[in-house]
Symmetry: C2
Subunit: 328 residues, 2 copies
């Protein structure tokens, strides 16, 4: 009677979901779907098969929740509404500006077909969003700030890799400690992008490439780097593999606010994450919400939901009675 | 059409609720109830009346949510189930071991009479409990630890005040920094009470009292101090008023856990509070949950709930659409 999980897309996130399912004894991995040739995709779980993505719908009765591990730019806007017709689904859609339209698309498909779709699950959007909501409801009129890092930004690393003469690259986003301290002290500083984060780049250049030009292209790149203090280190491929193979990340959400009849008392609420593996942590959050998707649907609920709409108890394998006794 | 709030009991917490209602424009304070002579209780909100506690039931149609600000040892076990017959109620019942029976009593009364009762709201139990649940669901098999302080423990201050020859006292609970760091580093240390917190006491003795005896009685007091490293400072009444008039508190909930196929990656989730005023912050959490109690009841829900059972969106005055757009 375990919750049967399917994984759509087997990159870092899909693999993270597979590992997270292993950590949750009330779940089992039922199938992995890929757009690659299934015979070329090796997964970790013994006895579980890899299928082509096109076969997913035919397995709808064998899967309780399908977890969508594609990208937010082109995969999820299509996949999540489409697959919500056949499955309860969870995704990690993270294009903040497009969340409202994604919500509506998934909501329609899920409601029409009696499923639950939970979108934008992970840590930001996800746990950070939740903490912004809770802290904002408790301290209305306060101020909040989110800092990311120290961690690898895949988007920024990719942007560097697209530069001519770059073989590989890893970009770290690093919060500025003095800005963090000012926010923690409740000073509500008005901070520019440059004042909040610095960017550190480790770049493997192709042989004979013009390093000066590459560095200049990086630090002046609009949107990605121009608004930040950016440092560039050229290293060898071996150094990149040895010292920068991981995908750590993390960050902090801080809200400060006042209470009292004349706002005489100050309070600071802080939520922080230090993650060795961004995709594995994101996957762990997603799997907890897959449990919620299953249970909500068992109760007869349908439609699109976000972390804001789900009572925390649905995430835990324990009963309400156990939770009250042990954790309250 | 604001949410009409009543306050039962006007001590530090009741006053904190009054201030929190002022910070939430979708709410209004309707009445304060006290067991003292109402004419002797001065409140802050212009135009709002103070009534005797016995008059509360007769005002049930004028109040959407009654917030119970009594103590957990004798007031709330009686008041919350009794008043849940007539009102949607929220309390901050914090006797952890008795939460299950309190839940059952409130659940019965609230269900029978079509009300919502939310119990054990505040920061511990409350926000800390929530964070234990979320973090535990995300990192199953991990370890968590809660540290309290630096802050004033009312229970420990009261225990000192009961000692013969003590005129007044303030006790601070202080987390041991090295223990905190070990937990943050994911080392899962097995910590005794003594290793996690120290206790610092500021005591005003009566004239001519035997200070040595008082100090000995404090540091050897079972349950309260004997299991901790405790320091005692004798100070003047003026010093106590000048330097220790506030009721600050706070603390931190940390969970560390592993992910990956072979548990190869570590993660640390940390939630921390730094509070100038323990009762005002507790009251601010309670008022957000009062909004939830009102809305849940409007939707037709009844019975006892805790922070675990309530979707975060119910706490915010903003619509789901606004929340998704602005905070997700």
């Amino acid at each position: 009677m375990r919750i049967r999980i399917g994984i759509m897309g087997y990159g870092n996130l899909g693999r993270g979901v597979e590992c997270a399912v292993k950590h949750n004894p009330d779940m089992e991995l039922k199938a992995v779907f890929t757009r690659r040739a299934p015979e070329n995709v090796k997964i970790l779980t013994p006895g579980v098969k890899v299928y082509h993505a096109d076969e997913a719908v035919s397995m709808k009765d064998e899967i309780d929740v399908l977890i969508l591990c594609g990208g937010s730019s082109t995969d999820l806007p299509v996949q999540t509404p489409e697959l919500a017709k056949y499955f309860n689904v969870v995704d990690s859609f993270d294009t903040h500006a497009r969340i409202p339209e994604h919500f509506d698309a998934v909501d329609g498909a899920a409601k029409e077909n009696g499923h639950v779709g939970i979108i934008s699950v992970g840590w930001d959007p996800g746990m950070f969003s939740l903490n912004r909501l809770y802290a904002g409801a408790i301290l209305p009129g306060g101020h909040d700030a989110t800092f990311w890092g120290k961690g690898v930004s895949q988007g920024h690393s990719d942007a560097i890799r697209r530069i001519d003469g770059v073989k590989d690259a890893r970009q770290y986003t690093i919060p500025v400690e003095s800005a963090l301290e000012a926010v923690r002290a409740g000073k509500n500083p008005e901070l520019t992008a440059r004042e909040k984060h610095t960017r550190e780049c480790f770049v493997v250049a192709e042989e004979g490439a013009d390093l000066e030009r590459i560095e200049k292209e990086i630090v002046t790149m609009p949107n990605y780097f121009a608004d930040y203090d950016t440092t560039v280190h050229f290293i060898s491929e071996e150094e990149l593999m040895r010292d920068h193979a991981g995908i750590p990340h993390g960050g902090v959400v801080i809200r400060s606010g006042k209470t009292g009849w004349e706002d005489e008392n100050s309070h600071v609420i802080e939520y922080s994450l230090k993650l060795d593996s961004n995709p594995e942590f994101t996957a762990s959050v997603i799997v907890a919400y897959a449990r919620a998707a299953y249970r909500l649907n068992q109760e007869g609920q349908t439609g699109c939901k976000t972390v804001f709409d789900i009572a925390p108890a649905y995430l835990s394998a324990e009963s309400g009675e156990e939770l009250r006794k042990r954790l309250l």
